[in-house]
Amino acid sequence: MHGLGISRRIQQLTGGTFVVKPGSLFPALHRMEEEGWIAAFWGESENNRRAKYYRMSKAGQKQLEAETKRWSRISLAIGQALEAS
């Protein structure tokens, strides 16, 4: 998926709550690439335009699982805390 695609997908999935601007998107993508969580390659878009595509790597998969676990723990905790008060 290319950068714009990722950005649009997030927008779609979150019902427009999160709009990732290029100023945040690209630094984040490059950081993740440097960490080895995603791999980048040049490809053709559906309209035959050259675009940079990103694909999740194995390390990225692991990282995602870890982060997801962490997040659900935190959100659960916060949810509980908010309910309790």
């Binding site: 601007k21 690209f26 490059h30 309209n47 335009r49």
Partner: protein, 896 residues
Amino acid sequence: MPLLVKARSFLRNLFFTRRVDADLDQEVHSHLELLIEEKIRAGMPAAEARRAARIELGGVEQVKEQVRDSRTGAFLDSLLQDFRFAIRSLRRTSGLTVFVVITLALGIGMTSATFSMVDALIFRPYPVPHPSNVVTLVGTTHDSSYENFSYREYRDIRDNTKSYDGVIAYAGMQAVGFSAEPGVTPRIKGGVMVSGNFFRVLGVEPRLGRGFRADEDQVPGRDAVVVLGPDFWRHEFASDPGVVGKTIHLNGTMFTVIGVAPDSFPGLLTFGHPDLYVPLAMAPVFSTNLGKNFFEDRDDRELTVKARLKTGTSLQDARNELAVLAKGFERDYPNVTRSRGAAVYTQFQTRTIEDDNWKFGVVFVILALAVLLVACTNVAGLLLSRARERAREIAVRLALGAGRLRLIRLLLTESLILAILGGLAGIAIGYGVIEWFHSKDTIVFATELPLAVPFQMDKRVLLVCVGLSVLSAFLCGLAPALQSTRVDLVNALKSADVEVPGRKRLWGRNMLVVAQVSMSLMLLTAAFLMARGFEHDLMLDTGFTKDHLLMTTFDPRLIQYNATQTQQFYKLLAERMRETPGVQSEALTQNIPLGNDDFDGVTFVPDGFTMPPDRENFTVTMDTIDEGYFDTMGITILRGRAFAATDTADAPRVTIVNAHFAKHYWPGGDAVGKHIRLDNSAGAPVEIVGVAQTIKYQNMATPTDFVYMPLAQHPVARMVLLLRSSGDPLQLLQPVKDVVRSLDPNLPLLQTRAYEEFYLNQAVRGPQIAIDLVGTMGLVGLLLAIAGLYGLVAYNVSRRTREIGIRMALGAVSSDVLRLVMGKGFALVGTGTALGLVMGFALEQLMNSMLFDSGGVDVVAYLIVVPSLFLVAMLAAYVPARRACRIAPTQALRYE
């Protein structure tokens, strides 16, 4: 694994910057294209879509910059940018850069050169593996905390201690008569007697052959084996690898070469690099003390004892163990070991206790650091004024969103580059000074022994240079960087003159002026005191005549004379020399005043003197002389008589003391006719027959008690012949050689020279170099301070041009203005002076306690220095103030 990925990206970012950047550029652009396409597809007109896409993207360059900042190694990248920028901006102001670099180089160079002295005298580790384990074992007495041990004591220590992996002993370097063939007149080389385990315990592997075996140091006089020093091997044997197994002659005895020490081991002495090592058991060939038996007498203390501490044994354990042993010595041998303790020293302790010269080094370093500090304040002042001029540039950068920290970093990078350049130039200067120390004519060792100046630009000195450079970068750069980035943006952008006369800001520069004045004053005080101390020592009447004297040294042991033969030789030598035409008088002495060798000590109890409760006896320095000595040296006998030919070995024992001694022990009465007893109160009585004038015996020393013994009653092997000539003393050289040849053609003449020349090299040159060094530092400091002071004050005043214009416009007359600015300068210099005087006084106390009493405050020095600093400050304030007064108010108000 992730680390590897990261490292790869880091390297890629660092080395393929262009490719990474092109890739990023393409990516952002393709993103833009995709966005546009998306908008068009959604039904926007092409132009509208392009605009909307650009707005959504928010600027191609900004996005790219954000990505760059988040990259691995972004910090390094920006650091490189800072460096490139700093170098560009420094090149633009190359004059200033050169001045700053020279200023810092002088400070750093002087510090490195002086630190190399302290390094060589204290810090340089022994040239052996694991040098920090090597400790020194010493005896202690009431008067001294550094006493050698005798051979018997060494053996007891070696065999009865458990704290060490080995205990070694060695004697001081001594003159050894060396000849490759028998029958050739021996030449003098520096030999050291060492214990059989010396090389093994120190962990030194000979480069050729082997070290000593333990059994080669067992039987006195049996194993005549020798290990050569690396330099000696190179020069005398042309690095012959077949030297092992050859025989050489030392003091007339045949020795077999068994090994050559490696280049990495020039010996354990600070100044000397021994030519030869021989086992202690060969002492009969080398021993210096005729009156004692090296192997038997527990008070023939000639050996330095060192040991390798076992791992896991603490220094305290070793100390306790040795203390117990020393108590045992005192109990078992009360006659020779009364009130002697023992101590174990680390290398640092050893070096600082055995020799006082390091103190001079430390004072030199303090002075050099003061020069560096003055240089730093100078540079800080310069950078500060430069930063002012760049205020607008900095304001623009801040306005455009540059972070303050980032700007401070940029400015610090600039001063760091300056400091590094200064450091490099400083290392070059330091290297030059050290080379100068090494050059043949600078420091002359008036001896045949292999002595060398140990100062070197080694890695510790280099490290100090680098450290000082970085430190001075912060000292010079931090204040200007902090100040110039703390600007009021609006004001700064409106005009180039961002002078907001806040107290805080002025305070910084005023501080610099005060620091400058006080530091240079302290430096000058110290330099003056130091120079005066040395000069005082030089001017001090030595108390004896130095001209028209020829000196030459004999050591009949070199050709195997026994005590009787030696005595006979000196008797004949003196007689024949007296008959030689051109010789006015003749003298024999064990040591010449202000010579290389330490005087022997004599232990005694003065008759009729109430001893302090904790003392058994006293020890003072002494010399052994013949009856011609006082006459030849021009030393006055104040009371009683000089030695005479009648004071023979069979006659009652007599001695002559100096006036200091006489006054010390018989303050009211006459010392002549009184007795001293040797060693202790039960010792042999010796009658004092004369009191000689107190002379200067050693350099930089206060007058001390001194005792003379007649040669006939106190035989010594190695003696110096002194001849007083009517004309050029060197003309007596041939007659002396003739006489000696008639007595024994094999006996070498050692250290033959005119005493005056020797005196100049020995006693004058060292202090003179010190005076030069200190004088140079003082002068450089003063010049830097004057330049800096002028710059700072003038700059401060010129910044007030507009203010002066306003004052003038409002009706002030120029005298008011002058009074105002000059009063300010006066106050600052006054504060600096007061501070400087206090610091100078503190330093003087320190120097007096450490080195010598230089005789209080030098009023003349202050009378010269203080007014000249005031004058400079006044001039510096006057010139720009005058100019400011002269220009028309309208102009001044527009002045930027």
